[in-house]
Symmetry: none
Subunit: 203 residues, 4 copies
Amino acid sequence: MEPRERRIQLLEHAARLFGDRGYYNTSISDIVSSADVARGTFYLYFPNKRKIFEELVDSLLLRLTSCIETVEVDGDARSPKDQLVDNLVRVFVLLCEERHMLSILLRGAVGLDQEIDDKLQDFYREILEAIESSLVLGQQMRLVRNVNARMTALAVLGAVKETLHGLLNTEYSLESEHEIRQHAVNIIDIFSVGVLLDGVTIP
Amino acid sequence: MEPRERRIQLLEHAARLFGDRGYYNTSISDIVSSADVARGTFYLYFPNKRKIFEELVDSLLLRLTSCIETVEVDGDARSPKDQLVDNLVRVFVLLCEERHMLSILLRGAVGLDQEIDDKLQDFYREILEAIESSLVLGQQMRLVRNVNARMTALAVLGAVKETLHGLLNTEYSLESEHEIRQHAVNIIDIFSVGVLLDGVTIP
Amino acid sequence: MEPRERRIQLLEHAARLFGDRGYYNTSISDIVSSADVARGTFYLYFPNKRKIFEELVDSLLLRLTSCIETVEVDGDARSPKDQLVDNLVRVFVLLCEERHMLSILLRGAVGLDQEIDDKLQDFYREILEAIESSLVLGQQMRLVRNVNARMTALAVLGAVKETLHGLLNTEYSLESEHEIRQHAVNIIDIFSVGVLLDGVTIP
Amino acid sequence: MEPRERRIQLLEHAARLFGDRGYYNTSISDIVSSADVARGTFYLYFPNKRKIFEELVDSLLLRLTSCIETVEVDGDARSPKDQLVDNLVRVFVLLCEERHMLSILLRGAVGLDQEIDDKLQDFYREILEAIESSLVLGQQMRLVRNVNARMTALAVLGAVKETLHGLLNTEYSLESEHEIRQHAVNIIDIFSVGVLLDGVTIP
DNA sequence: AATGAATGAGTCTTCATTCAT
DNA sequence: AATGAATGAAGACTCATTCAT
């Protein structure tokens, strides 16, 4: 088999196993027997277990990052809300295809490897900062209420992560892009409008 | 040492180590040398590594559950919003004292042990169902907008988890109860009102 | 078994195996099955294979060094020649009891471990320097011919090593101390007088 | 490349690596990547790792043997001493060009391979026997003192080996044949005359 | 004549668990 | 109630060798 193919094959089998059983419950033996190659073959392509895991995480973060585009507030582009929805849809679509690595992405890699954990932390920090600065900008433009931007950013990120987890890991099987878009709209909607009917207030 | 004391001592050392390094990077050796007892002593109190971890998780879930009280909508009690805030404050206060187990609580125990992971899943499912049915009730009472209740419940849970993570694991050091209450109010506020100023809409 | 005893037992078995088969043809499996303990037991006493080998070499070099005493030329001590013989006898006696490590001592540990090889090199360098400076001193005292001291020191060391090898590793079984002393006298004699009869010269 | 050339190329790279790092720290990978050929190519020329090493040893022993000529005591040849020196010079010159294999030659191959070790042993035994019988002959001719011939042969061999080691492996860089001859003369001289000035005896 | 992907037996090392004292 | 020496199954990783192309 072509080296390129074999590499990809190993990555795919490893992703599924790491995603299903976690890093420590996946042995090199599991990976190679799943991919139906000899033990030594693994080491032709990856120097060790940690590295194949790292490569999976790196690759996912890279593709995720490239999914997310800065929202343009310029005149004739799509509306900011639509752009947000588009971003979220792209993320959802990508993760639908990469369900295996999802649990690692959502849960971090605490206790697995410091370096990898740091990468995930950095990734989330960047997202948080983007959300936070958008909120601050919105406040300056008198579009956003006077909420604690940092806290709200955390809330938004957490909401997205948990709905992702809920949608992708359980019964739902988001197959049509229409369904996916519907869910993205929902999330954005909750945060942009709030959950209460206009005029209603809890006393 | 009194058996009861020793048991507690071992649990405390284990909690700190599991929280800091994760389950798989904490060995029985680490626990007993941290607690300064002999290897064999550990097995007088716990049948195996899995069980001490399970006990820590069980105990935390138990205390967490007892923190959360059903919101009463009856006449003369505190306002529902205050009751929600009180719940959140109690959860925050408890987790401030149990920071060690926090990462396990927040990230689940995927890849550690199926049974323990199931417990966490059940715990979160119950919380989700409580939030969801509150939302549905609110909708029936015409207090809550026509949002997807399931999705919104996931969003709320995720927001709480992520802010907890952000608040407890990073720079912030929630020491005074006043500060803690402030953060709880913030979260509830975001979800009850939404982040946009009244009347403002993203086109 | 007492830790001290077990440690010694493992060292003895390892010494025999390393001596017989060499470092690379001796596996931890060989050592533990020879000592009839479990695999893990080895690692209670030594952190790895390299370390047990290093300890064996260190210990031998230490005992060898303590065998060798500086020759005193003061008046009423034993004659210098007798002192040299005594040194050699002590070395021979020690190595008779430690035949296993002899091949390692004689051949160096090239290709085994840089640090260990350096120790052996240092050991031999010290011996060489001692011999060389004795020769130079002898020349200053007009006792020793005008030979190249460095070369001669190398020749002496090599002669001792090779005779040791020949005597200890082959048919001969130097059992009585008398025999041992006889051989030591021979070597010293060869170098002190030269191999040729007085007055005879190869043309 | 011509098969003959390729073979030689592989042998040269292997010799350098074996000499520098030792047998066990030299992998087939090292050899083929040093020679810049494919893994499989190695096995077109040598059936296994052991064999290429054996061939290197065999070839060296062969060339060494052919360096050494029986000393003729007949009338009009060069003087016996000069013949000895010539032998030694030829050995030195050869080994200067083959420094890589020197450490293997000097240290034996204990723990590498029984068969190869036996070859080295045989080689040295032959040399020893030649020296020994020369000494015995010398004694019969009343040229050599009444020393233990076996012991003395060992001493001579060891002295030559150690000086070789000292001269070739360290600071000295025997480049001119004149220098080499000088050292050979030194060694022969030490043994033929002894290290002490005429008439001087250690009491 | 050469390639290099694949193999798998073998090695070191870890660690949860047991049990005699 | 406590100890800690011993166990051995299991895992990561290496490398000489094979073979289809």
